[in-house]
């Protein structure tokens, strides 16, 4: 997997639910992960400075600074963070597979983990001559792997970017906008 996420830890959860009454029922899928909020409660609550918002707007957890207090998990209105209970958790146990061993140590035991927008891909984009949201290798893995093409990534500060165009054209809105955290993730109505 792209980010070597250990068992029990999710960068994205997909809420699968039905609305309506039989026979007029619709099934909906609502993926929820870190919203990379401009006014992120997790950043304010973090006592160690591990949770921080970068200049480009991506909110990250510095795994070396995280003390595992989990205040950020309490204040996140989207439930977007998980606590890593084990240091070398392996899906097939008891030992890691070669792939898991490659990513071992990325998330120390007792630290909080969440979506990074695949920041390593974004960071390498410039040196590789790639554009995030346009070139697959410089775009978050979830965007590239979504078989329905339902996810998009781009620069919200660029009014001409695809994401801004889609938000304008389809009336995209953040989830629970009223909470005032200014999320950077928008949902496009059908």
């Amino acid at each position: 997997m792209e980010n070597f996420v250990p068992p029990g830890v999710f960068f994205t959860r997909v809420n699968d639910y039905e609305a309506g009454t039989y026979p007029h029922v619709q099934r909906h899928f609502l993926p929820v992960g870190c919203m990379h909020c401009k006014d992120a409660p997790c950043v304010q609550a973090c006592p160690s400075g591990a949770s921080a918002r970068r200049q480009d707007g991506i909110v990250l957890v510095d795994q070396n600074l995280c003390v595992g207090c989990r205040y950020c998990m309490v204040v996140c209105p989207y439930g977007a963070r998980d606590f890593n209970e084990e240091s070398n958790a392996a899906y097939f146990g008891p030992g890691p597979t070669p792939s898991e061993a490659f990513g071992a140590g990325r998330y120390p035991k007792g630290s909080v983990v969440k979506c990074t927008f695949c920041a390593d891909r974004i960071d390498e984009a410039g040196s590789r001559g790639l554009t995030p949201g346009v070139d697959r290798d410089a775009t978050p893995a979830c965007v590239g792997s979504c078989i329905a093409g339902a996810r998009f990534f781009g620069d919200l500060d660029d009014e001409d970017s695809l994401v801004c165009q889609l938000i304008r054209a389809r009336g995209g809105k953040p989830l629970q906008e009223e909470l005032g955290t200014e999320p950077s993730v928008y949902y496009l109505p059908r």
Binding site: P7, E18, Y22, G149, A150, F153
Partner: protein, 203 residues
């Protein structure tokens, strides 16, 4: 339409680009294959497949397969089966990361039944229930929801896994223990009727 690098993944777009058409419902090829197969089987005196050979038609005929279940009014529901979309035909059900992903799917790990069906039987979401056919019964957690026909209950775990590593330990309810193979319910492609008459009650 998603990002540009995703677009070639769509089969329809590729078919349009290549000028391909979808198969027509009239399938003379199937008829020819049936005739050829029949000749070969009969040439060695084999007639076990004769019922199925009649189904190799260019245009399919409707058969009342549900009518073959003569179990009486006691078994008032149909159990059908499906899989969570993460499991492509069940072959990858032994991958723990996919099991985690599938656990978010509605109906996963239990038996889905309509709200009205459950209410009539005093069943609440999460209750242990028995799903019983004339062949046997299985115990499962009830998943009460609206998106199921009131006369149908759904086992999401298809036919179970008894040898596949990881998957054999899951214990999710499947149709397998309470149905049996039948030539009458087997079509010409070897597919079987994936439904069985059942009654459902609280455990």
């Amino acid at each position: 339409m998603g990002p540009a690098f995703l677009r070639p993944w769509y089969l329809h777009a590729l078919m349009v680009k290549m000028g391909l058409r979808y198969e027509l419902p009239y399938q003379e090829r199937l008829k020819r294959i049936g005739e050829d197969l029949g000749e070969r089987l009969h040439s060695v005196g084999s007639h076990f497949w004769d019922d199925q050979l009649r189904e190799y038609q260019a245009m399919p005929e409707w058969h009342d397969f549900p009518g073959l279940w003569d179990t009486g009014p006691e078994y008032d529901l149909w159990l059908i089966t499906c899989r969570s979309m993460q499991f492509a035909w069940g072959g990858n059900v032994g991958i723990p990361a996919l099991i985690e992903a599938a656990s978010m799917a509605i109906g996963h790990g239990g038996i889905s039944l309509n709200t009205s069906t459950a209410r009539a039987r005093g069943i609440k979401n999460g209750d242990d229930i028995w799903v019983e056919s004339p062949v046997g019964r299985l115990k499962a957690k009830a998943v009460v929801r609206e998106g199921v026909h009131p006369e149908v209950v759904v086992a999401t775990h298809m036919f179970g896994h008894w040898r596949t590593p990881v998957a054999k330990e899951l214990g999710w309810p499947s149709m397998n223990p309470i149905t049996r193979l039948s030539y009458k319910l087997t079509d010409e492609t070897g597919g079987t009727s994936d439904h069985v008459r059942v009654k459902v009650y609280k455990a």
